[in-house]
């Protein structure tokens, strides 16, 4: 059985964002790149499955600038993935082209029995790639998944929907599963894991060598801006009763939100 895990590299959540000189991307100087947090649940679930089911192979797959994306793939290999594949592509290609590249590579590698992704990437919050990969490969999908199991009958997942409700779905394999927090606790890459990862295969594929026309970009992010500065906070003094009365008055008469 072959499991593919699609991962994206994103700026660490502590990063203070600065706009780059072209105003269409961020200033990447000094940014610490990490695996998208939701993708860590995807890697963990795949590795856990492999550990419980002999004969399973886990491929970690990422699209982006080879030099830095490879670091995240090495981390995925250190967490237990068997092989890495990097599609060397320019920064910031859109979800559509990314999904096409992922689908093409998975097809070229002989197809998948199961694909894991994160439910979304915390940089553009688009939550598009899993569903698009599923569509391109003719597979069913489930996103925001916090429970997963697989049997010969297929995949069963629990996904979080609105207002704390949950949905239990049965999917015929092969399927695409978008991981949410709560699915598992991702392991840290251990030192022996990191040593082993150095010897594992990390294959490089040029985006340009895939059969995807350059004109396939569908959306572009332009004119990045920072959020407007908020006016200084109005601190409310007095004892708690006075504070509460003043706050409610301000919310009603000044902010007009009540």
């Amino acid at each position: 059985m072959k499991i593919f895990v699609c991962i994206k590299q994103v700026p660490d959540t502590e990063t203070k964002i600065k706009i780059g000189p072209d105003a269409s991307s961020i200033d990447t100087n000094g940014i610490k790149w990490v695996i998208n947090p939701y993708d860590e649940y995807a890697i963990e679930e795949a590795v856990k499955y492999r550990e419980a089911n002999a004969g399973t192979q886990v491929f970690a797959l990422s699209v982006g600038p080879n030099k830095r994306v490879s670091e995240s793939l090495r981390t995925a290999l250190a967490m237990g993935a068997d092989e890495g594949i990097v599609v060397n592509a320019p920064e910031n290609i859109d979800s559509y082209s990314t999904a096409r590249a992922l689908a093409e590579v998975i097809k070229a590698e002989g197809g998948a029995d199961l694909i894991f992704t994160g439910k979304l990437a915390i940089d553009d919050n688009a939550s598009s790639v899993s569903q698009m990969v599923a569509e391109f490969l003719g597979m069913p999908h489930a996103t925001v998944v916090s429970k997963f199991s697989m049997s010969p009958e297929g995949v069963t997942v629990e996904r979080d929907i609105e207002g704390g409700a949950k949905e239990v779905l049965g999917l015929k394999a092969p399927a695409v599963v978008g991981a949410n927090k709560g699915l598992n606790t991702p392991r840290y890459a251990s030192l022996p894991g990191i040593m082993k990862a150095k010897k594992k295969i990390l294959k490089e594929i040029e985006f340009a060598s895939l059969n995807i026309p350059a004109t396939d970009t569908k959306v572009k992010y332009t004119q990045l801006s920072l959020p407007a500065e908020k006016p200084a906070v109005k601190m409310i003094a007095g004892d708690s009763s006075a504070q509460v009365a003043e706050l409610v008055k301000l919310l009603r008469d000044e902010a007009k939100v009540l």
Partner: protein, 322 residues
């Protein structure tokens, strides 16, 4: 004139606010507004859609569409899109919208702008603005090579005027050609609260580590009940297991944009501030005057939340009665 297609979500025929926002924005653009609603109550929703600006509404009343199924919905929406051939598609960035429309975009070989907070329609051209890095920056989204431009808007971002009962839409009933399904919805487990999801809520009361223990969320639930608010939480208390992840606000939780955000005992890690910074008015209640949350707040109270919050609940009760 271009056609703007609006996929409207409803609850037993009552339109969600997000759907009204989209219909009215589409009508304001001067384009023809074609709507779609599915499931039991779709006919009732269609009548309401007319009042909000749709001139034509396609409905699929099939009860199998009452529960969201990605494959079934994709087939239904794609079949209607083929008939209508719109240039623009608007839907809400809800749990359903976010799961479904990327799949539609891939099927139609077209572009999608997800999780947008601003929308500009001019003829068949559309641009949108969306938060990046959970609100640490914003980007304009422009479409290229997209025969159909799909925009998923967050709720509560666009104005809604009162329904105009004199306007009606032509209702066209469609039938569903069911594909062979590889996806089966086995069970839906209802949430503990019937409140709006954080991403749709107009008022959010959010709790952090300052609450000291899980049981003290009752203070926030009481406050939220008075305000008709949804309760959120910081990552620290979600990781501690006090509340479920669905309640987490922040960069690895939900990015929210309510009118009023009340942060109680939340210190304000950069990830949390990013997730809530789209809120119009922010109230922070914390006993630490140096807590970073005060840098983002509109109004700040330094005090003991166990003293302040119950009093606040009582004060709101008094004021909101009038």
């Amino acid at each position: 004139m271009s056609k703007v297609f609006v996929f409207a979500e409803h609850k037993n025929g009552a339109l969600k606010r997000g759907a009204m926002e989209l219909l009215q924005a589409a009508a304001k653009s001067g384009n023809t507004v074609v709507g779609m609603a599915v499931g039991t109550g779709a006919d009732k929703a269609a009548a309401e859609m007319g009042h909000h600006g749709a001139t034509e509404v396609h409905i699929l009343k099939d009860a199998s569409l009452d529960a969201y199924n990605s494959e079934l919905y994709a087939a239904a929406v794609a079949s209607v899109l083929e008939k209508v051939q719109p240039q623009i598609l608007l839907a809400s960035a809800t749990s359903t919208g976010r799961d479904l429309f990327p799949r539609i975009a891939a099927r139609m070989k077209t572009g999608i702008a997800s999780d947008c907070t601003e929308l500009n329609i001019s003829g068949d051209n559309v641009t949108a603005k969306k938060p990046m890095y959970s609100g640490k920056a914003f980007a304009n989204v422009a479409f290229e090579n997209s025969p159909l431009k799909i925009v998923l808007m967050r709720a509560n971002q666009l104005p809604v005027a009162a329904a105009d009962g004199s306007k009606t839409a032509t209702v066209i009933e469609q039938t569903l050609a069911k594909p062979d399904l590889k996806t089966l919805v086995k069970e839906i487990v209802k949430g503990t609260s019937e409140k709006l999801d954080l991403t749709e809520a107009n008022i959010i009361v959010s709790g952090g580590r300052g609450l000291k223990e899980a049981g003290n969320f009752k203070l926030l639930n009481d406050l939220a009940d008075v305000l008709g608010a949804t309760v959120g939480a910081s990552r620290a208390v979600v990781d501690a297991g006090w509340v479920s992840h669905g309640m987490q606000v922040g960069q690895t939780g939900k990015t929210v944009a309510p009118t009023l955000y009340i942060a109680v005992g939340v210190s304000g890690a950069i990830q949390h501030l990013a997730g809530m910074s789209g809120s119009k008015v922010i109230v922070a209640i914390n006993n630490d005057p140096n807590a970073p949350i005060f840098q983002k707040a509109t109004y700040g109270i330094v005090g003991d939340l166990f003293d302040v919050v119950p009093k606040l609940t009582e004060e709101f009760k008094k004021v909101l009665k009038h």
